[in-house]
């Protein structure tokens, strides 16, 4: 069946993928060369587009401040999502309790909710809590909006753990908490890893929330930093944008190369664990 010739398919797919290949290839090329935007062939090697690493752009914070902010944002969000989803997911998957159906239905509905439309109200809540324009505030919001998805995914992973493992743990004298902590949790590590990578990437890329809820230079994330650079019509320089962009994407590329398998799983919508 697979022995038929496949080159027409390869050609077809390569043609369809061409825009992507070109865009990402030149993303890397243009940061080290001085070619004008759109030049097909790069001219000379240069590192001048990387000067943003040491020079501040206008009144913006330094790139390192933005990088640190983004890192704090992404890791804190991930930590919160992982911690909360791994307990809540377990409760929904395994624990007999009143209103379980209600909770589960709620998670499912929120899972597919138009979150970004709530941003006005979210702003007001942050303001009441005094968390507007702080990283803490936008971390809490991002984590909360990711939670239904996270809980849903974790529930899926818990569902695949055999009941007998838990029954066995109980017969061995362990309490439910201990069973969860020592027996079940280790069995869903792949899920935690996948969700963790997903949350990290999602936090790392997030644009609108920090843009609206934490626009100040001192708390700016890389996405906001980069957007303000791009939209500044006085300094239109694709090579600079791409260099910042490539810098911004380094962690993404690393995670992507290392954890491709897990990503495929979770970007499929995580319908199953």
């Amino acid at each position: 069946m697979r022995s038929e010739r496949t080159w027409p398919i390869t050609v077809l797919l390569a043609a369809a993928s061409l825009p992507l290949l070109v865009m990402y290839a030149y993303l890397i090329l243009d940061t080290f060369t001085d070619s004008a935007p759109g030049a097909v062939f790069p001219n000379r090697f240069t590192l001048e587009h990387w000067r943003f690493l040491t020079e501040r752009q206008g009144s913006r914070a330094s790139i390192w401040q933005a990088t640190l902010n983004t890192f704090i944002f992404a890791t804190s969000t991930t930590a919160l999502v992982l911690f909360i989803s791994s307990t809540a997911g377990y409760a929904l998957s395994r624990l007999a309790m009143p209103f379980r159906r209600l909770f589960l239905g709620g998670v499912l509905i929120l899972h597919a909710f138009p979150t970004i439309t709530l941003i006005i109200a979210i702003f007001l809540i942050l303001q009441m809590l005094g968390l507007y324009n702080t990283l803490t505030g936008v971390i809490l919001v991002k984590a909360s909006l990711e939670l239904p998805f996270g809980i849903w995914i974790m529930k899926g992973f818990y569902d695949t753990v055999p009941w007998e493992i838990e029954m066995s743990g109980i017969q061995d004298g362990a309490g439910r908490f201990q069973v969860w902590r020592e027996l079940v949790l280790p069995m869903v590590y792949p899920g935690i890893l996948a969700l963790g990578i997903f949350s990290f990437l999602s936090g790392w890329s997030e644009f609108i929330l920090p843009q609206v809820l934490a626009p100040d230079a001192s708390v700016q994330t890389l996405s906001v930093y980069m957007a303000s650079l791009i939209f500044d019509d006085q300094n239109f320089n694709f090579n600079l944008f791409k260099s910042v962009g490539l810098f911004y994407m380094i962690p993404v590329i690393i995670l992507y190369l290392v954890f491709q398998k897990y990503l495929m799983n979770i970007y499929g919508g995580g319908t199953k664990g």
């Binding site: 007998e164 061995d172 004298g173």
Partner: protein, 352 residues
């Protein structure tokens, strides 16, 4: 320690799966809960170990009422069908887990794990992980883990179902050996009558949430209470022949088989319907009560041959005989039944 279940009833939502079940397992006895899938045997086991709660009824371990007691406090060892070994722990950690939970010292855990491993004969596997073990080895580890904290009761849920045939034989004896060595009261849940008969002191046979009969294996085989029990036990299965009482005999409609009624049944009115149960080993060429038929099928089982014999009216009788009969498919034969060994069941399937 004996186990006593009194009037146990279990419902899931509105479906009653176990109704008013009572059972006593004697101290040191190994009891089989035998029945087809869905009969409630596993539910009963889970209720005994505390995974399920009792909707009604009580459960005693010895004199102690454990009905409302949490699983963790019941001191029960359970071996699951899938063995339920913890995949991320080593064999030693698996076996030692119950002790670790109890907070025993590391040295003590070590010592006991070693001796338990020796008891189940896997001392060389302690550093492996479950994924690296064969089915039989996993089974042994699961047993060691169940037994290490010296439970009052050992429960086994289809422990052999996941093993291949050869291992199953080995483990049968192994489990029985361990049970007898430790003298622990044990319950074995199985759907396999051979396991139940070969391993257990007594069998409780279940169907649709009720216990039909409790008896020692031999008694149950020889004197099943009804057609279901008779049919469930024995391989090849028992032959059932529909008959009617006609002057001291019971016979099939076209009189292809005619068996004299034993004395205790002489009083039955003519025309009463009886089902005869004849085990294949009691259908032999030499037996007295003769009938004729044609061989339709022969299956050689090595030491024995299995024959299907079709009578004129289409009734098929199965016979198992030592190798040696010189007949072939299509041959007409006249064989016999041993009338003393025939079981009589009434209309409702109860043995008379």
């Amino acid at each position: 320690m004996d186990i006593r279940i009194e009037n146990f009833t279990k419902r899931f939502d509105k479906t009653t799966v176990i109704e008013d079940l009572s059972l006593t397992v004697r101290d040191g006895e190994m009891m089989a809960l035998l029945g087809p899938s869905g009969c409630g045997k596993s539910t009963t086991l889970f209720a005994i170990c505390g995974v399920y709660t009792f909707d009604e009824g009580r459960l005693f371990f010895g004199e102690r009422d454990v009905t409302g007691l949490a699983s963790q406090k019941r001191n029960v060892g359970v071996v699951f069908q899938s063995f339920a070994l913890y995949p991320h722990l080593t064999v030693a950690q698996n076996i030692g887990f119950p002790l670790k939970v109890r907070g025993e010292s590391r040295a003590e855990i070590d010592r006991q794990v070693r001796s338990a491993a020796e008891m189940v004969r896997v001392p060389e596997l302690l550093d492996r992980r479950p994924g690296q073990l064969s089915g039989g080895q996993q089974q042994r580890v699961a047993l060691a883990r169940a037994l290490i904290r010296r439970p009052d009761v050992l429960l086994m849920d289809e422990p052999l179902a996941n093993l291949d045939a050869k291992l199953r034989l080995d483990m049968r004896t192994e489990i029985r050996r361990l049970q007898q060595e430790t003298g622990i009261t044990a319950i074995l849940v199985t759907h396999d009558q051979v396991e139940a008969m070969s391993m257990c002191d007594r069998i409780a046979i279940m169907r649709e949430g009720r216990i039909l009969q409790i008896a020692a294996p031999r008694d149950m085989y020889d004197r099943p209470d009804d057609t279901f029990v008779a049919g469930f036990l024995g391989n090849p299965p028992i032959n059932f022949v529909e008959t009617q009482v006609v002057d001291g005999h019971c016979r099939t409609q076209r009189d292809t088989v005619r068996v004299p009624l034993p004395e205790r049944l002489i009083g039955l009115p003519a025309g009463a319907k009886l089902t005869l149960g004849v085990r294949p080993e009691f259908v032999q060429p030499s037996h007295h009560t003769r009938f004729t038929g044609r061989i339709t099928f022969i299956e050689s089982q090595g030491r024995e041959d299995l024959f299907d014999l079709e009578l004129e009216d289409g009734t098929v009788l199965r016979s198992i005989q030592s190798v040696g009969a010189r007949v072939g498919v299509g041959d007409a034969v006249e064989w016999g039944i041993s009338p003393h060994d025939v079981l009589f069941f009434d209309d409702a399937g109860q043995r008379l």
